[in-house]
Amino acid sequence: MTLDHLQRLEAESIHILREVIAEARNPVILYSIGKDSSVLLHLALKAFHPAKAPIPLLHVDTTWKFREMIEFRDRIAAQLGFRLLVHINREGLRMGISPFSHGSAIHTDVMKTQALKQALDEHGFDFVVGGARRDEEKSRAKERIFSFRTAQHQWDPKKQRPELWRLYNLRIQRRESIRVFPLSNWTELDVWRYIHRENIPVVPLYFAKTRPVVERDGALIMVDDDRMPLQSGEKPTMRQIRFRTLGCYPLTGAIESSAATVSAIIDELTTSRISERQGRVIDRDSVASMEKKKQEGYF
């Protein structure tokens, strides 16, 4: 018996999750509701079986997520037996921060990066597990699986700990933390193939359907609720679209697609030459924008 590539990726991820449960004092899974998070939860069930979900989930809610994401979040957490923590930056909410009024950069900083730091400080999590993958974006390619953060949540790319064999250095001082990326070596295609093989539930927004959209700066933005101000002459049209990544709806571009099943998505991906994050408005703010965000504490 030999393991195929998905089985090997799965075993590596389970190994990483077990390192976390063995060493962490107060671990958490940062749950983003996307497909990578879905895979992560599935792997956590496997890693800790027959124990039931011994790590809580944290969702940092910007209040601008797609409605279907929130429904999915609550249902999945309950069904799989995870304790779900939701954090919203109340200060940001009070200031009325929104991607429409303040732009993507400020919105993301206040409602995501600052909110995440608040939640981590409030709960004192020492190991924070996320679903990021190295193939997502160039600065991620050099990210470690166990990525050290200072007490101020900062990331210094020049002071990363080398990772040899399966020997991870998990030692930290009080208030320091480690962000953990069990899916580091997975690609988008691996994730979909695994979702297919394991029949893992994902948010329906990934599947093509006729939805109301407007076209802005070359991106197809779905009109998810009535908070979206329409510019003069703008009129939502019904188009068959789906999403490759999910985030705040005003910042997430859809693609036109007819892929309505997992296998159709896999077929689409094997022929596509467009990168996954192309729909993400925040990445285009400046060259190397993700690296800057990460140094500031973005996940």
Binding site: L3, H5, A11, K158, R166, I274
Partner: protein
Amino acid sequence: MNRVPFANASVPTAQLHREPRDLLRFITCGSVDDGKSTLIGRLLYETKVVPEDQLAEIIRASATGDAGSSTEFAFLLDGLVAEREQGITIDVAFRFFATDRRKFIIADTPGHEQYTRNMVTGASNADVAVILIDARKGVLTQTRRHSYICALLGIRHVALAINKMDLLDFAEAPFRAIAAEYHSFAQSHGIADVTAIPVSALKGDNVAAPSTKMPWYAGPTLLDYLENVEVEDRLRTAPFRMPVQWVNRPHAHFRGFCGTIVSGRVRQGDEIVVQPSGRRSRIARLVTFEGDLAEAVAGQAVTLTLTDEVDVSRGDLVSPLSAPAGVSEQFEATVIWMDDDPLLPGRSYYVRVGTATVTGSVSTIKYKLNINTMEHLAGRTLALNEIGVCTISLDRPVAFDPYAENRDTGGFILIDRITNRTAGAGLLHFGLRRAQNLFHQAVEIDKHAQAALKAQKPCVLWFTGLSGAGKSTIANLVERRLYALRRHCYLLDGDNLRLGLNRDLGFTIADRVENIRRAAEIAKLMVDAGLIVLVSFISPFRAERRMARDLLEDGEFFEIFVDTPLAVAEARDPKGLYRRARRGEIKNFTGIDSPYEPPLAPDIHINTTTTPAEAAAELIIARLVELGIISRDLC
């Protein structure tokens, strides 16, 4: 599992037939100048990993000058702003691509000398190395360095990508010459499987598509090679090993030991031993989320339960009773240093072996390796990116295999106890427990019988002091006086021993320690033979003089400090050694660039600036009479 009843409609798997069957990890070695980034960019491009919007970004970034105005594939890879500014890749980056046959994980590491650390990191998990050579330059020092590190870390398959063939008009002769030179070098380093491939990363020849410009080459393209190279999975046939990561106790009736099987296979009912404790049991169940397994193999992450209530915790190793791992607390090991603060022998570090974390220290650095020339060098410490062969001692025993047999149970990391940085990595060679099997053989004609025949009391007179202090001069005079008194004696001179018995030793700290150890052992044998032994050695360290004293019985060892200030010894300089040391021609010279630790309480203290050699010899004889070594009657 609670299946969530929505989302995925069932789909026929026939559409997914192109799924890769296998996973290969490889490392790429070479520098920016060899076209390494271009080669990787080319591989990603040809296997359709480079998306159109990223190509668009390259063009956009180069137009603004952000990319050092490069539109090469290389720009795809430079992930960090700091690197873009410096125009070099400074860390390990991981890239992925897949074909219908395999998924590939590339560990992309820089070739610069100062980044040995990153190469070691990348190589630690790689099965194959792609080593780049610029066809115009041939096998360089860096090529040897990269190959050595790959071999050290256990990579057995090398694709030698001889690049920039387009700049040599795709000529065969230079390719053959480089391939031949590399083959002979690789063989001497235990890299058995080398495939040389002539490529042009820039033009794409022999990267994914066969070149039409090199009809003389009939071998595989680089991608063919990577898709087909048989990585003999020695771990599958090796004995079963599972380091225990975590004990899963969801309730009182279940106690599972979780871990990744790093080698071999295991079945229900197998007899096992938990190491290092040595407790035995049998496998009761192999538990997974999908249900129990009858058998599990290397690479799988499983949960074991045992038939007995044995004490097992994180850090233990589960092995078959028939083929257990070794257990030791002292090792010889190769250490690669990765921290800005140097490795200091004797300093305590956390040592992580398998899932065990213990404390330990390096006791001695036997030698450092010059990874460009393979020379063994002296060294007391290891600096960043240096590699040395060391002995390490742990505070308690751990289970292990030699690294050459098993990377997972033979590799370790050293963690700084103050900063928590990963300070070094190491490869275990073997446990040091040889003394266990040796027993002292009693002899009938013992020391006292030997001494009685000679009618004397045997002892060691240990002369220590700087080079040129006057040790040998005084020792010679003492020996002549003892001979005249018809005493049986022998003078062990440092230089003389180094010309014979110790000629394999240099002047490294470790070699000096060994030099003294041997002299002390010989002196001990001579004392057993009933002799008065004069030892004239610089012997700069207190620890080793102490060791010599401890070998002998009380009243047999006399430390004589031949005390000459450095300036005086240097002014005398009878052998011209100080002058050469000052010019840097002699390294590790005591008093110049290697320390001398004066005795704190010598048995006899000779100040040579106030006591001439003859007077010193008389003083020593008088003292020996006082101590009862020589009878007063004789004098």
